[in-house]
C-alpha cells in the first residue's frame, strides 16, 4: 500500500487553477521526485501536504487514511515535515531553539537550554552537520540555515519528509551531506518527496518521479533510472528542447568594464578583472567565496575601501546603486525575497520600479500607459505566469517572481553592464532556457554580461570566459575552451581537499 496518496486534488486561487485533479502515490523507503516548470503546481502541492493550504477538491491519504489538516501543526502531528524553498526560521533565536521550536524541553516550567543544546548537538552529529547549537541563525549563512531546517524536520521524526529545492543555496560539500542524509532517511523506511530543477540530482537520488505541467500530472515514472533526460524535459516543457544553454559564438569586442583593485572590509584582497563588450563572463566558486560581495562592491551597494570601476573609460562613482544605474550598470541580486521583490506591489510595479523615465517632466510624473505596455511586453517575453500585470507579486511562484526581477533589469534603458547573481535559482528547465537566450541576446547587443552561479553545468554552458573565486580571492581564469568541471572545481576548492 502506498504510504502517501494524492487523490484528484484541486486547488484554486483567484484567477489561477494551481492544481487540477492531481493524483499520484509515493511509497515508504523511496525517494519520489517531483518535476515541473514554475507555476506547474509543485510548491502548492507541498503546501497542501504541509497543512498550510486546504484542497478545494480531492483528498490526501496517509497509510490509506484520509487526512484533513487545518494547520501546519496538524500535518506535523501526523508525521509530515516539509522543508520549504523560502526558509522559515527565527533569526534572533539559536540553532537549538529553532530546531526545537514549539517543543523546547522544560524543567520546572523554565526552558532547559542545556538539555535543548545537548539534544540538538546529538542530532546534528548523527546527521554529520557541523554547527554550534548555541549560534544565532542571523549569524549563519543561507546554506547553514537550510541545514538547520533539515535538522528540524529530522528531529520531528517525520514519516514523510518533503524537500522543496533544498540544494539551491548549498555548496557542493553541503549538498553531498544532504544526499547522504536523504539516503539514510530512505533506508530508515521514510517516504521522501524531493523537488528540484537539477536533473543530475534527481537521477542521483530519486527512485521514482512524477512530472507536472500547468497544474496537472503529466506522467509518473516508477523507475527513474530508465527514463532518458530528453523524455523528462519534454514531459515538463511539452516540447522538445535540444540544448538548454543555446550557446552561440559572438565576436569579442573591446574591453568596456574595468575593475581595478576593489577592496572592502569583507573583501580585504584587491580584486581586478575586465569584461569585454558582447561577452558573457561567468563567476564560479563555492558558497562563501566572495562572488556576490564583489558584485555588490562593483555596484556600489556596499562600502568600498579602495579600488576603481571604469566603464568605457569613465570612472563609475561609488556613491551607491543609483550612480551605478545612471552609468548603465545593473545588478539582479541573489536573494530575491530580501533584496528583490516588493511583496505588496503588483507585477507591473515591480518591473517598473527603477526604470528611468524620460520625456516631458521626465523623472517626476509616472507614465502609466508606457509602464503598462512595458510590463506586458516583458511578461510575454519572459513567459511570466501571472493572471494579469496587476497581480500581487507575492502570489506568484518563486520562479516567476525571479523572472519579474529579471524583467526589471532587462527593461532598464541605457543598459551597458548586466550583472546577474544566481539568475536561475528556483527556475525550471524550460524557463532557464528562455533566460539563457535573453542573456545571449543582451550580450549580442554589445553589453557586458556577468553571471554569478553556483551551478557548474550552467556556468560552463553559457559563459565565454570563466573566473573562479576562492576565499575572497580570484583563484583563476579559464577561457571557454579551457574550462571543464575538473578545472573549475580545482580552482574553487580549497587546497587541502583533493578533487
Amino acid at each position: 500500500m502506498p504510504s502517501l496518496q494524492f487523490e484528484n486534488v484541486t486547488k484554486e486561487f483567484p484567477g489561477v487553477k494551481a492544481l487540477n485533479g492531481v493524483s499520484f502515490e509515493a511509497h515508504a523507503g523511496q525517494v519520489h521526485g517531483l518535476l515541473g516548470e514554475n507555476g506547474a503546481g509543485k510548491s502548492t502541492l507541498l503546501k497542501i501536504l504541509g497543512g498550510q493550504y486546504r484542497p478545494d477538491g480531492g483528498r490526501l491519504l496517509l497509510e490509506g487514511q484520509a487526512c484533513d489538516f487545518h494547520s501546519a501543526g496538524d500535518a506535523i502531528a501526523a508525521g509530515i515535515a516539509v522543508i520549504h524553498q523560502e526558509l522559515q526560521y527565527v533569526p534572533e533565536l539559536t540553532v537549538a531553539e529553532n530546531v526545537l521550536l514549539g517543543r523546547l524541553p522544560t524543567r520546572f516550567g523554565f526552558v532547559d537550554h542545556a538539555a535543548a543544546r545537548r539534544l540538538v548537538a546529538e542530532k546534528l552529529a548523527a546527521i554529520g552537520v557541523d554547527l554550534d547549537p548555541a549560534a544565532r541563525l542571523s549569524e549563519l549563512s543561507i546554506a547553514q540555515r537550510q541545514m538547520v531546517e533539515i535538522c528540524k524536520a529530522v528531529m520531528q521524526d517525520a514519516r514523510v519528509i518533503a524537500f522543496d529545492e533544498p540544494t539551491s543555496s548549498l555548496s557542493h560539500r553541503e549538498s553531498e551531506i544532504l544526499f547522504r542524509l536523504v539516503h539514510a532517511l530512505r533506508a530508515e523506511g521514510r517516504t521522501l518527496i524531493y523537488i528540484s530543477h537539477r536533473l543530475e540530482e534527481l537521477y542521483a537520488l530519486c527512485d521514482a518521479c512524477t512530472i507536472f505541467r500547468d497544474g496537472r500530472k503529466v506522467a509518473t515514472h516508477p523507475v527513474m533510472a530508465d527514463v532518458p533526460r530528453e523524455r523528462l524535459i519534454s514531459d515538463m516543457v511539452g516540447r522538445e528542447l535540444q540544448d538548454i544553454y543555446d550557446y552561440r559564438e559572438r565576436p569579442a569586442g573591446t574591453e568596456r568594464l574595468q575593475v581595478r583593485g576593489l577592496r572592502s572590509h569583507g573583501l580585504p584582497h584587491e580584486l581586478s578583472f575586465g569584461v569585454r563588450g558582447g561577452e558573457v563572463l561567468g563567476f564560479f566558486g563555492l558558497v562563501g567565496a566572495g562572488r556576490s560581495e564583489l558584485m555588490r562592491l562593483l555596484y556600489g551597494a556596499d562600502h568600498r575601501t579602495g579600488g576603481q570601476v571604469l566603464l568605457d573609460g569613465k570612472p563609475v562613482s561609488a556613491s551607491g546603486p543609483a550612480a551605478a544605474i545612471a552609468a548603465g550598470i545593473v545588478l539582479c541580486p541573489e536573494d530575491r525575497k530580501e533584496q528583490g521583490i516588493l511583496a505588496q506591489s503588483s507585477v507591473a510595479e515591480n518591473i517598473n520600479i527603477s526604470c528611468r523615465r524620460h520625456g516631458l517632466l521626465g523623472g517626476v510624473f509616472l507614465r502609466h500607459a508606457r509602464e503598462a505596455a512595458l510590463a506586458d511586453e516583458f511578461i510575454k517575453r519572459l513567459r511570466i505566469k501571472t493572471p494579469s500585470r496587476e497581480q500581487e507579486i507575492r502570489l506568484l511562484s518563486g520562479g516567476n517572481q525571479q523572472k519579474v526581477i529579471l524583467a526589471r533589469w532587462l527593461a532598464e534603458p541605457g543598459l551597458k553592464v548586466l550583472i546577474l547573481d544566481e539568475p536561475t535559482r528556483g527556475i525550471d528547465v524550460g524557463a532557464k532556457n528562455e533566460i539563457y537566450r535573453l542573456i545571449h541576446e543582451v550580450a549580442a547587443s554589445g553589453c557586458c554580461v556577468i553571471v554569478v552561479s553556483s551551478e557548474l553545468p550552467e556556468v560552463l554552458g553559457i559563459a565565454d570566459r570563466l573566473i573562479v573565486m576562492r576565499d575572497g580571492r580570484i583563484s583563476g581564469e579559464l577561457s571557454r575552451a579551457q574550462a571543464s568541471e575538473t578545472e573549475a572545481l580545482r580552482l574553487a576548492l580549497p587546497d587541502e581537499v583533493t578533487a
Binding site: 483567484p14 551607491g320 543609483a322 541580486p333 533584496q339 528583490g340 516588493l342 511583496a343 520600479i353 509616472l366
Partner: protein, 315 residues
C-alpha cells in the same frame, strides 16, 4: 467573472461601510443631515485631514511620526509671536512654515542618516518641540489681533470655510503625488522593501528626509490655520493629535508595515473619525465615553482589515 464583484467589494468595503453609516445616521440622528452640521463635521477634522496626507506617506515608507501635535502648537505660537512683533502676516506664515520644515528635516536626518528608530526619534522631537512652544510663549497663549490673519479661518468660499478647501487641496495634491509621481512610487517601494528599493537605485535616505520635511511643512500650515481659527497661538494645543492622525490613516487602510496606502482610504478614515465625534456630540454623549468609542472603532477597523488579509492567505 463571478469573483470580480467580490474582490471589488472587499477593496472598497470601508467606503461602502461609511456610506451605509452616513445613511443610517442621517435617518436616525436628529440634525445630522443638515448643511450646517456636515460643514461643521468637515471643519472639525480639517487639520487632521491635512496632516493625514503626509502621515500616509510617512507610514507607507515604514516610518512613524509622533511629533506632529507639538509642531502644530509650536507653529501656531511662533506665527502669533512673529505677527505680534512684526505686524506682517507674510512673515508670520513664512516663519511658521520654515520652522515646521526645519523640524521635519531634523526628524528625517535623525531617522535616515543617524538611523535612530523613528518611534524614538519623533518621541524625542515631540517632547523638545512642545518644550520650545512653552518656552517661546512663556507658557501662555499668545493672542492674535490681526484681522487678515483671523479672517482665514472664517472666510467662506462656495459655502465651505477656507480650511476645508485647504484640506481638500491637500488630498488632491498628495493623492496625485502618491499615485502619479516617481516620488510616490518610491515611497511605497522603500516601505515595501527598503533594501530592494535601495538596490533598485532609489535614494532611500534623501527620500525619507523629504517625507519628514513635507510633513513638518504641512503640519506647520495646519498649526497656523488652527491658530487663525482660535485667534491665538496655544502652546498646549493639539496634544494627542498624532494619535488621531495615525488612527485616521489606519482606518483608511494604510498599512503600518509600510508599502500600502490609498488616498481615498485616508479621506474615508478622516471622515469616519469626524463623524463619530460629531454624532456623539449631537447625542450629548459624555466626553469621556468619546475616548472609549474612538478606541473601539480603531480596533474594529484594524481587526476587520486583519480578517480580510488572513482570508486571502488561508485561501
Amino acid at each position: 467573472m463571478k469573483t470580480l464583484p467580490r474582490a471589488w467589494l472587499k477593496e472598497h468595503s470601508m467606503t461602502l461601510g461609511y456610506g451605509l453609516l452616513f445613511i443610517v445616521l442621517s435617518l436616525s440622528v436628529e440634525n445630522f443631515f443638515s448643511a450646517a452640521n456636515v460643514v461643521g463635521l468637515m471643519l472639525s477634522v480639517a487639520q487632521i485631514g491635512m496632516v493625514a496626507c503626509t502621515m500616509m506617506l510617512c507610514l507607507a515608507s515604514r516610518d512613524f511620526d509622533l511629533s506632529v501635535g507639538s509642531i502644530i502648537a509650536f507653529a501656531g505660537v511662533l506665527g502669533a509671536i512673529v505677527l505680534e512683533r512684526t505686524g506682517s502676516v507674510g512673515l508670520a506664515i513664512g516663519g511658521g512654515l520654515l520652522a515646521g520644515a526645519l523640524i521635519g528635516a531634523g526628524n528625517g536626518v535623525l531617522i535616515a542618516y543617524l538611523r535612530v528608530n523613528a518611534l524614538i526619534a519623533t518621541l524625542a522631537t515631540m517632547l523638545m518641540v512642545r518644550g520650545l512652544a512653552f518656552i517661546v510663549s512663556n507658557g501662555q497663549a499668545v493672542g492674535i489681533a490681526d484681522e487678515t490673519f483671523i479672517s482665514f479661518g472664517d472666510t467662506l468660499v462656495l459655502g465651505l470655510p477656507l480650511p476645508v478647501w485647504m484640506t481638500a487641496l491637500c488630498f488632491l495634491v498628495f493623492g496625485v503625488l502618491l499615485n502619479h509621481t516617481v516620488f510616490g512610487r518610491n515611497t511605497l517601494a522603500i516601505g515595501g522593501n527598503p533594501e530592494a528599493a535601495r538596490l533598485a537605485g532609489v535614494r532611500v535616505e534623501a527620500l525619507r528626509v523629504w517625507i519628514f520635511l513635507l510633513q513638518g511643512l504641512v503640519t506647520a500650515a495646519a498649526g497656523l490655520i488652527l491658530s487663525s481659527r482660535i485667534t491665538s497661538g496655544q502652546p498646549n494645543a493639539a496634544t494627542g493629535f498624532e494619535l488621531d492622525v495615525i488612527s485616521a490613516c489606519v482606518l483608511g487602510g494604510v498599512s503600518l508595515q509600510g508599502g500600502k496606502a490609498r488616498i481615498f482610504g485616508v479621506v474615508i478614515g478622516v471622515l469616519i473619525m469626524g463623524t463619530v465625534e460629531n454624532v456623539m456630540n449631537l447625542l450629548n454623549v459624555d466626553a469621556f465615553y468619546q475616548y472609549l468609542m474612538r478606541g473601539i472603532i480603531l480596533l474594529a477597523a484594524v481587526l476587520l482589515d486583519q480578517l480580510k488579509t488572513r482570508g486571502e492567505r488561508r485561501a
